[in-house]
Symmetry: C2
Subunit: 198 residues, 2 copies
């Protein structure tokens, strides 16, 4: 254990997601020894994000304007919405280059243990977006885990009453993976979702 200011910094860094005590210590000692300019740039960029960046008023993505670049892009299909848990998931779908519609960020997934129900997510905002009848399809891209599945089921039930086509990303074997190392739940999903080749 260090003490004083350096230990304070280690504690604060340790609160960041995915940062354990050892990495926090390494980062703190790096910051102590770094060039003044490097440290100033880090501090400035934290403050710039806090001042300038917020969430898109339509979809909840990250933006420095009122709406995000995807919502403003008129070349993108306004009839399909891909629903994701977090803004970073938009990046993952975009990187795959297989979707040219719009997005909607829920801000998490249903997780009763941590007190997150449908009302804590941006589901009401999604329903509002559907009111003008322009959207005809919803693709649910929540995470393939228990919370993501619960959220997908809830959304599918809610959307079925409105009569909008709703689908969920396929689950199965990861491409480039090895059958030997696939877990049984994934293998079960792959079997269930098998596609005819004839």
């Amino acid at each position: 254990m260090f003490e004083g200011a350096i230990q304070n910094l280690i504690d604060e860094l340790g609160r960041l997601p995915g940062v354990g005590p050892k990495s926090a210590q390494r980062m703190a000692l790096y910051l102590l020894a770094a060039e003044p300019d490097d440290v100033a740039r880090l501090v400035d960029s934290i403050q710039a994000v806090r001042e300038r960046v917020h969430y898109c008023s339509i979809c909840g993505n990250i933006t420095e304007a009122d709406t995000c670049s995807i919502c403003r892009d008129v070349t993108r299909d306004p009839t399909v919405i891909c629903v994701v848990e977090d803004a970073k998931d938009i990046q993952s779908v975009e990187n795959a280059r297989v979707f040219r519609g719009r997005y909607h960020v829920l801000g998490g997934a249903i997780d009763p243990i941590h007190g997150i129900g449908p009302d804590q997510l941006r589901i009401r905002q999604l329903l509002t977006r559907l009111q003008d009848g322009q959207v005809t399809e919803i693709i649910i891209a929540t995470n393939p885990n228990i919370e993501g599945e619960a959220t997908a089921s809830y959304l599918a039930r809610t959307l079925s009453t409105i009569g909008i086509a709703t689908s969920r990303l396929a689950m199965g074997l990861p491409v480039g993976g090895d059958l030997e190392y696939a877990d049984s739940v994934t293998l079960g999903r792959a079997m269930e979702g098998r596609r005819s080749m004839t």
Copy 2:
């Protein structure tokens, strides 16, 4: 890829040691959504470290005073110095509670590929500390890798001309480890350094 301020922050966080692009992104999105007080505490603690913390004028450890708490501690044996590469190594040795002498931080290890020779390390300062003849033993606790070994050999050669007892931490099997998983270099060192039980 994000853009603007959030991408700047991701880039800056990615410069920290041990932080890859994915963790930098996760940290940046956390900082965007965090409570204002939490962000302020992090920024303040970075600035406090930069203003208040520096290196002990005797041993090179981290301190907020002129000398560190270990150098000021009169109950510690002033005749033995444990030489380490970094200030964080002092914490590791202290945690083992097996050493009650003083320390000397080299500030790295000899690493010609990265342009670090003996002159870039605090070796001259170590020799200066030995001039009054109070120190009778040096324990070299540089890392058990190529650079640490090179540094230990260099120090041992340099110190042999002064006639101070010099030793190196033992290398061998880690306690609680499994022979099956020991790499052959470690096993070789363990064999070489075997101790008589009779």
